[in-house]
Amino acid sequence: MSKMPDIAPLGTEGYLVRFADKLDDAANRGVISFAAALEAADLPGVREVTTALASVFVRFDVEAVSRAGLVAALGELLDSRDWLHPAEAERPRLWRVPTLYGGAAGPQLKEAADLAGVSEEVAVRELSQTRVRVLALGFAPGQPYLGMLPAHWDIGRLTGLTPQVPAGALVVAVRQFVLFANPSPTGWRQVGLTKIPLFNVNAAEPFALQAGDELLFDPVSENDFALLETDNMGGAKLEEAG
């Protein structure tokens, strides 16, 4: 693999700026900072910026900027800072998301805890006290990939698929969570359930999360969880300062 970061065309209307060829926490932070700087720079011809786990995609208007011009501008922004070692810490938003762990809400909590080599009680403590970051949104609208969990949570996926987990399901594998926006089949293990609405087309802000947000999945009792039914954010609260 060539030297990273690199800039490569993807399709005929975009460029991909790759920071790593595997998932890496520092690279992902670099991706999110670079994407934010790119949006702020408002370069001529740039129509849209989006991020994946280790790359930034720039959609551009072929009529409004030349390829050479765009690549040069991207290169200049890339070289303007050490994206993998930010000088000052970013201050991400923090979401606190009430979560019901185990039981019917997390039918594979024990199995996941066993694979991570901890008791269920320790598992809930670790999963709920690790501040995880939205590494990327995708698969379904508003649906986050979250990481990174402690190293012993590098557990594999199921060999078969769970035919369906409900919307709001919190599932775990490979040091990450996925929080499901819609009922979905999955090969990851379900450890808990939340009620945060990730995509609501009729809301002023249709998408709750953005890449780089941090989340804490606070454990709640079954009774408290049931009471969240009436809250339109499912009890999820945003704390601005990181």
Binding site: P9, T12, R47, T50, A52, D61, L137, G142, N202, A211
Partner: protein
């Protein structure tokens, strides 16, 4: 109030426009018409702009209007009738209140488009009226649905026809290489470009599986590929080395390697290939792709220029008196 009553709609009949751009970072693909050229052709026939919506159907429908409207029929050539009288495809027609428009697939192509002179007057969601079923936005149309239409202010415009370049029988599809093409050996890549594929029945608004005879197209260390950004037109290989072309409602990121991407102009060929239709790939450079690129506005303008007045003998025209015969010399491209 002008409206369209859906009397019957086949599966996967939806309202579509050019989709919602700008939400990739939230995991929402643009969506919109599977064959954007057909949508622009309908807009050209009706003198409408880029924001026009049309009904997209792979399965046909029956519908009627409350107030007279011009109707444009484009895309996969279908059998169309007004009150049992056959009418031409790639054309506009006058649909009077109470008349029943019937559209049925002919077996050629996949998606037909039906648009109205007054346009659809339905609420936009995040800037678009397009149903994006993958994102649970909107829904398929069904019998009993009533959609508001705007007033058709150009009812007297003479009927127009288009003779579009055929894109309904597969053939060569141009592609460019991409960031993950290097995961394929030169030998595998060459074999890919020499292979004749057939569109499988496993195809929808998200993706289309291509079938072929021979060894699978395996990537080198495909499992090490980190999930990355997907664009419509990407040719993604499943774990079993089977190619899927990603379409309008594709996911925005994915972990399977992509051997390259079909250029936007040729994606309608894949969308409109019916099951079993032969497709093959022709690799072109980005410079070549840029040389054939046309912005949608230019495509619309160019298409308006090739709309022609429909020539028919008067005895075929049942409702002769409803046409303006003297001052109706409007070609639709005046500016």
């Amino acid at each position: 109030m002008a409206h369209l009553s859906i009397l019957q709609a086949g599966p996967n009949t939806t309202l579509q426009d050019l989709g919602r751009a700008g939400f990739l970072k939230y995991g929402l693909s643009r969506g919109g018409a599977m064959d954007r050229l057909s949508l622009l052709e309908a807009a050209a026939l009706l003198g409408a702009g880029l924001d026009m919506a049309a009904i997209e159907t792979p399965t046909g429908l029956r519908a009627s209007v409350g107030v007279a409207q011009r109707v444009a029929l484009t895309g996969a050539p279908m059998r169309a009738e007004i009150d049992g009288r056959a009418i031409g495809w790639n054309a506009t027609h006058l649909l009077m209140p109470g008349e029943v428009l019937t559209v049925r697939p002919s077996g050629q192509g996949v998606y037909g488009y039906i648009a109205f002179g007054g346009g659809f007057d339905v609420p936009r969601q995040m800037g678009s009226v397009a149903a994006h079923l993958g994102a649970r936005l909107g829904r398929a149309l069904e019998a009993g649905d009533v959609l508001d239409l705007g007033e058709d202010r150009d009812l007297a415009a003479p009927p127009l026809v288009l003779r579009p370049e055929s894109r309904f029988s597969g053939g060569a599809v141009r592609m460019v290489t991409g960031p993950q093409t290097g995961h394929y050996s030169a030998e595998t890549f060459a074999r890919f470009t020499e292979t004749r594929f057939a569109k499988s029945g496993q195809a929808n608004r998200q993706a289309a599986l291509l079938e072929y005879a021979g060894e699978s197209f395996d990537a080198q260390n495909a499992l090490g590929v980190v999930s990355d950004v997907i664009v419509p037109g990407d040719i993604q290989m499943s774990g079993a080395g089977e190619p899927y072309v990603l379409m309008a409602e594709c996911q925005t990121i994915g972990g399977y390697p992509r051997i390259g991407a079909i250029i936007p102009q040729d994606l309608p060929i894949v969308a409109q290939a019916s099951q079993g239709t032969e497709l093959w790939f022709q690799v072109i450079s980005l410079d070549e792709a840029d040389a054939v690129h046309l912005p949608q506005r230019a495509i619309l303008r160019k298409t308006r220029d090739i709309c022609e007045p429909m020539v028919r003998s008067p005895h075929d025209i049942a409702n002769l008196l409803s046409y303006q015969l003297i001052s109706g010399a409007v070609t639709g491209d005046e500016e």
